[in-house]
């Protein structure tokens, strides 16, 4: 115990991650690949929306999926069966993806041949909001059964997303979910967010979402 000394470190884990994320974004711009980070609670419809999105956009764009659903190969298989490249990340119980994990996942793709990679992030509205993945845009899903009060409970998630898909609108009317109130709460946190009402079950409203995504992609790929 004689010569214990104080060694300064001065590093922020989040800012290290932010630096790595910027590096990823640079690489993706060079490769002309759009990276979409899709987040939601478990069961809100991430896999369903990815399948719908692939259906709509695969004639125009080549698409890959980076799957981080905890300890399951099921989703990657579901996606791969649509003829789309899918990579399963072993998140081992981690509650979110960080830029380093995404970089590892992207290394498994040939980015030169890909226009769009969709990340299915770990199902959780807290931790993924804190860590920049290097994505071009962030999107989230809130499903009607989860309630219109979620922006109050998870403000950070709603403020880091560029688009919000309100999924399972086929359930509207079965609870006291108010779309008006939701919009108001979301816009207060994030006035610039694009909001889409959709049902992955019936297909209603999917076009609005895919039009937005395709528009953002064209801007990015130009």
């Amino acid at each position: 115990m004689s010569d214990v000394r104080l060694i300064e470190i001065k590093e922020d884990i989040l800012s290290d991650n932010a630096g790595l994320a910027e590096e990823l974004r640079r690489r993706l711009r060079e490769k002309k690949t759009f990276l979409l980070n899709l987040m939601s609670s478990p069961g809100s419809g991430k896999t369903s929306l990815i399948l719908r999105t692939i259906e709509k956009l695969r004639d125009e764009f080549s698409i890959g999926v980076l799957e981080a659903d905890i300890d399951s190969m099921v989703d990657a298989e579901k996606v791969a069966s649509r003829g789309v490249q899918a990579v399963q990340l072993k998140t081992g119980g981690f509650c979110h993806l960080d830029a380093a994990m995404v970089r590892t996942g992207l290394d498994a793709f040939d980015l030169d041949g890909l226009d769009l990679v969709i990340i299915e992030n770990v199902g959780n509205l807290v931790c993924p909001a804190e860590f920049d993945t290097g994505s071009t845009k962030n999107a989230m899903i809130l499903s009607v059964p989860e309630g219109d009060d979620k922006p109050l409970k998870y403000p950070l998630m709603f403020s880091v997303c560029h688009a919000l898909v309100v999924n399972k609108v086929d359930y509207l009317g079965l609870s006291d979910f108010s779309m008006e109130l939701l919009r108001e709460r979301v816009k207060k946190l994030n006035p610039d967010i694009s909001l889409f009402e959709a049902s992955c079950k019936t297909g209603q409203g999917i076009d609005g979402w895919t039009d937005w995504l395709a528009g953002e992609m064209r801007k990015h790929l130009k």
């Binding site: 115990m1 060694i7 300064e8 470190i9 001065k10 590093e11 922020d12 884990i13 931790c127």
Partner: protein, 116 residues
Amino acid sequence: MHELPVTQSILDVVLRHAERHQVKKIHAINLAIGALSDLQDEWIQSYFDYIGKGTLAEGAKLKIERVPVVFRCRACAGEFEADVREMRDITCPTCGKGDLELVSGREYYIKSMEAE
């Protein structure tokens, strides 16, 4: 909720610096963690005890300081501290506007380590 990955990052950073400074043993690590993080101090310590086994940081004590949540108002540029438990409808105490920017409260900052 993300004690494990955050703790792993802390260990990685600290070991990198330990090598640079030719440290033999790390006794303590001084951290500043934002109040918005829901990390529990006890959990971080017990994860750290687990993943630190067999490294220079085995048994090191994590000393955690909480950084308050501070917002800057985009309308009047005033800064103010907010209570995390009352994050619902935060408005600027000076001008009453709600267009705010987070200045601090999210960090996972490794300040220093005590080592020999």
